[in-house]
Symmetry: C2
Subunit: 195 residues, 2 copies
């Protein structure tokens, strides 16, 4: 079996190789962080010379932005099947997506220095806000836009804190749902579908 590096891959057609490199970079970002995306380490992970990575990418900044956007978009599509705002909040705070949260936090941190990454962050943030906004409207919320914005920040913040907090990962979903009811002007328990 190969170690961490993929088996010495055969020659691939251009687009296929590019896809393989992107996949390797995505794995690497999820396991070792966005900062681990260097020409040499991505090449090693993909079983390819560093020069080939550079050949298929318009600079490392562009690769980082593309990898981030891909990770966020994939998570968005994974979550698109969840019906109802309450299950959505529960899913997004159940602690099974720490690797993705880490990537988000690193993207925020590097945004001031990397314009392309910053643009990708803005786009993905807007897409997530739209996703939450739709779910809120379906739940009968008026004026869903500002609440969606606040809710998204809350979810990400609570996840980021849990990431750094270590052992004591608390279950924030019930508190978040009560908070959400209040922000929407709903009765307490209106979003509680747990029983």
């Amino acid at each position: 079996m190969p170690s961490t590096t993929t088996a010495p891959s055969a020659r691939l057609a251009g687009p296929a190789r590019r896809a393989a490199i992107l996949a390797a970079a995505t794995e690497l970002a999820l396991s070792d962080g966005l900062a681990a995306l260097t020409l040499r380490r991505v090449g090693e992970r993909a079983g390819v010379a560093s020069g080939l990575v550079a050949h298929y990418v318009d600079g490392m900044d562009a690769l980082v932005a593309e990898v981030f956007a891909g990770i966020s978009a994939r998570e968005r599509s994974e979550v698109a099947g969840v019906r109802g705002i309450a299950p959505l909040v529960r899913t997004l705070t159940d602690g099974t997506r720490d690797a993705v949260t880490r990537v988000w936090v690193q993207a925020w941190a590097e945004s001031p220095a990397h314009a392309r990454l910053a643009a990708a962050v803005r786009d993905e943030q807007a897409a997530w806000r739209a996703l939450l906004e739709d779910a809120l409207r379906e739940a009968g919320a008026a004026d869903a836009a500002p609440v969606a914005r606040a809710l998204l920040g809350m979810i990400d913040g609570v996840n980021a804190h849990a990431l750094a907090g270590g052992r004591d990962r608390a279950d924030h979903a019930p508190l978040l749902l009560r908070a959400l009811e209040a922000m929407l002007g709903m009765q307490r328990g209106a979003l509680d579908d747990s029983q």
Copy 2:
């Protein structure tokens, strides 16, 4: 007048020089980010050779952790004078502390790779949680601990999103206060002291 670098400082006693270097590093972190803390750039800012910075510090990781802890502790003491949970929430989300938020986000991002920084982040998070917990208890909240934890995450998350969002910085304080009332089981408007 000196440019960005401090005037060619005279010879200082050990502890004084160390303090000066720490101050320069703190300025640098707030203006250019934690990642800007290199031996050479800190030295330049302090008007001192890079070797001297290394001489007064137990490795750059330790300096980064110390600078972060200092920035967070200073902000905590600045805010300690604010009485009441509602003014506290408003103060922490008024957008005047973006530089500090940036440092927090960068600390989260680098924590997985830097043990000392990670420990400092945990400590500061605990201190902030305790601060909020006290304020909540004063406002008559029972079971303040989990709510303090969630509220802290919400504040940081909302601030981080505002940081990345660019132009459209929203005023989240009213929504946060309504959410907080609900999490505490209080009546709507119970925390509204705006008039």
